[in-house]
């Protein structure tokens, strides 16, 4: 655990907390972006270049933009007067605790299973690429198919109905 790790971790946690606690929804979305950026830096700190850059490209470049667009296009971005906190927050707390428990269990379990975490394999981007189109080509194709189906679905939804155009 280096100094860099603590700085980045603090940033990420602060971003996450701000995303939950701030009152303005757009501010929350921007805070989430900080958390995303922190995660990307953590990946880079661990020498996982591909994961780090993919995190930035996908989460900051696309997901964050998607979130802010969704906020702006669905309702107004002003802070609601009667607070932003849900009334049945304990249900949310329960879900969050459950997810945290599952994740924690998984992480602890994996540490126990790994013989020693000194021998971290150095994975280069080239190897990831090789694996993706070699050993994991079938899952890749299935995911691609799924995305294509989703895209066609989106196009169909957005399509003007016949007769209404022009």
């Amino acid at each position: 655990m280096t100094f860099a790790f603590y700085v980045i971790a603090a940033l990420t946690v602060a971003g996450g907390l701000a995303a939950v606690l701030l009152r303005n929804t757009v501010h929350c979305a921007l805070a989430v972006t900080i958390a995303f950026a922190g995660l990307a830096m953590l990946f880079l700190d661990l020498d996982a270049q591909f994961a780090g850059f993919a995190q930035i490209l996908v989460y900051i470049g696309a997901v964050a933009i998607l979130i802010v667009f969704a906020i702006l296009l669905t309702r107004n971005s002003e802070t609601p007067r009667d607070g932003v906190f849900s009334r049945n927050w304990f249900a949310g707390l329960f879900v969050a605790a459950a997810i945290f428990a599952v994740l924690g269990w998984a992480v602890l379990h994996s540490i126990a299973v790994l013989p020693n975490h000194a021998a971290v394999p150095a994975v280069t981007v080239a190897q990831i690429g090789q694996a993706l189109v070699g050993r994991y080509v079938l899952p890749l194709e299935i995911v691609a198919l799924l995305l294509t189906a989703a895209m066609i679905g989106a196009v169909i939804i957005a399509l003007d109905e016949k007769g209404r155009t022009k």
Partner: protein, 396 residues
């Protein structure tokens, strides 16, 4: 020829200079000092280039419109950027009362930080990349994607309808054109087999009969380069894709509410973004720092990189002086209905090129496919009425 000592030293002058400077320091701080020195040089160099570019642009645009351009400050007006700089630095910094102060402040800062980070992976000469990342290209695009966020922040935090509309347009446009931009670069990655920009330049730095192996001299490379140029122009919000700041309808788009130094930062961000994307284009398709002819190899590599960069900038200016602004629907149609199919075809052609092996067959086949697809699509698009003169629904 690079082996000749004088040529070698001229080529590596900056690298040697840096090593010498760092050698003066105690060895414990040497790595950090090395990085710091390179960063400082980049941060000084590109704003200087920005100043030069503004005067070239204003002069050039003037000449294209049969005007003289600025000619009052200093001989031939060459001191104009200094006057501009003093003016924008001493202007009052106005923040609207209803604006979101923190976000309003962070937006230009984020933009400038992000655009400068792109230079970290660009090889500006032989051995002259700040870092040699395995995934350099990916880094470049990941960083580039973050500019959208700063544009959005600027537009949203100003609490001004023009700013917000401009930001929405800018973000929509940047997301749309990022697709052809990325896919046209993927063709290069497919041929080189590496995401490292250094390797991409090395792969192009060969000569047959004294002529270079730049990717632009292949059918797929030429098509990819043209699409890359179009998408890069749109990514940097330059004319004719400068709808986000269309002054006739949006005042100045997302930076309407910025003044003084912050406005200067946006301006700087736009131009530095232009430099970095031109540098990337030169690296991917024009052989980066390699010389255009083998006999010209004695001229230092950094000279070639910056000449290509400035040539690209001049083309940007030329386009700005020539084309009228597009309409929003034309812009989107062009990205999704023309550039995207074309760039997908180009990917297919690239794969074909890779697996057909040497010989005239692949030249003929790849060129034929690209030309046929281009002509067919252009015909279809013209007939469908997405381009060309507009048909008004109610006015006829």
């Amino acid at each position: 020829m690079i082996d000749h000592p004088i040529v070698y030293q001229a080529d590596q002058i900056f690298v040697l200079l840096k090593h010498w400077l760092i050698g003066q320091l105690p060895s414990s701080v040497q790595p950090a000092a090395g990085v710091l020195l390179s960063v400082v040089v980049i941060i000084c160099l590109f704003p200087a280039l920005f100043a030069v570019t503004t005067i070239i642009e204003r002069k050039g645009l003037g000449r294209m419109q049969n005007r003289l351009g600025p000619n009052r400050t200093g001989p031939f007006g060459i001191l104009q950027p200094i006057a501009d700089g003093i003016k924008s630095l001493t202007k009052e910094d106005i923040v609207p009362t209803s604006a979101d102060g923190v976000v309003h402040f962070l937006a230009p800062v984020l933009l400038v930080v992000v655009v400068f980070m792109g230079f970290a992976v660009l090889p500006m000469g032989r051995n002259m990349a700040l870092t040699d990342m395995d995934a350099g290209l990916l880094f470049f695009f990941a960083i580039g994607a973050s500019t959208e966020l700063s544009v959005f922040m600027a537009g949203w935090s100003s609490r001004n309808k023009y700013s917000l509309l401009g930001a929405m347009r800018a973000v929509a446009q940047m997301i749309s054109y990022e697709v052809p931009l990325l896919l046209s670069s993927v063709a290069v990655v497919m041929i080189t087999g590496s995401l490292s920009l250094n390797k991409i330049v090395e792969a192009q730095n060969h000569y047959t009969w004294g002529l270079p192996h730049w990717y632009i001299f292949t059918p797929w490379g030429l098509a990819g380069f043209l699409i890359f140029c179009i998408a890069a122009t749109a990514e940097t919000n330059r004319s004719p894709f400068d709808l986000p700041e269309g002054e006739s309808e949006l005042v100045a788009g997302y930076h309407t509410e910025y003044s003084g130094f912050k406005f200067a930062l946006f301006f700087l961000g736009e131009y530095v973004g232009m430099f970095s994307i031109s540098g990337l284009g030169a690296t991917l398709f024009l052989g980066g720092w390699s010389a255009p002819l083998q006999i010209l190899n004695f001229i230092p590599s950094w000279f070639w990189f910056f000449s290509k960069l400035m040539a690209a900038i001049c083309v940007f200016i030329w386009m700005r002086g020539t084309f009228p602004r597009l309409r929003q629907d034309q812009l989107m149609n062009f990205a999704w209905k023309f550039c995207l199919p074309l760039v997908l075809t180009n990917l297919f052609v690239t794969a074909l090129w890779r697996f057909l092996g040497e010989g005239w067959l692949r030249w003929a086949l790849c060129t034929a496919i690209l030309v046929v697809v281009y002509v067919a699509m252009a015909r279809a698009e013209m007939r469908s009425g997405h381009f060309g003169s507009r048909r008004y629904r109610y006015a006829e």
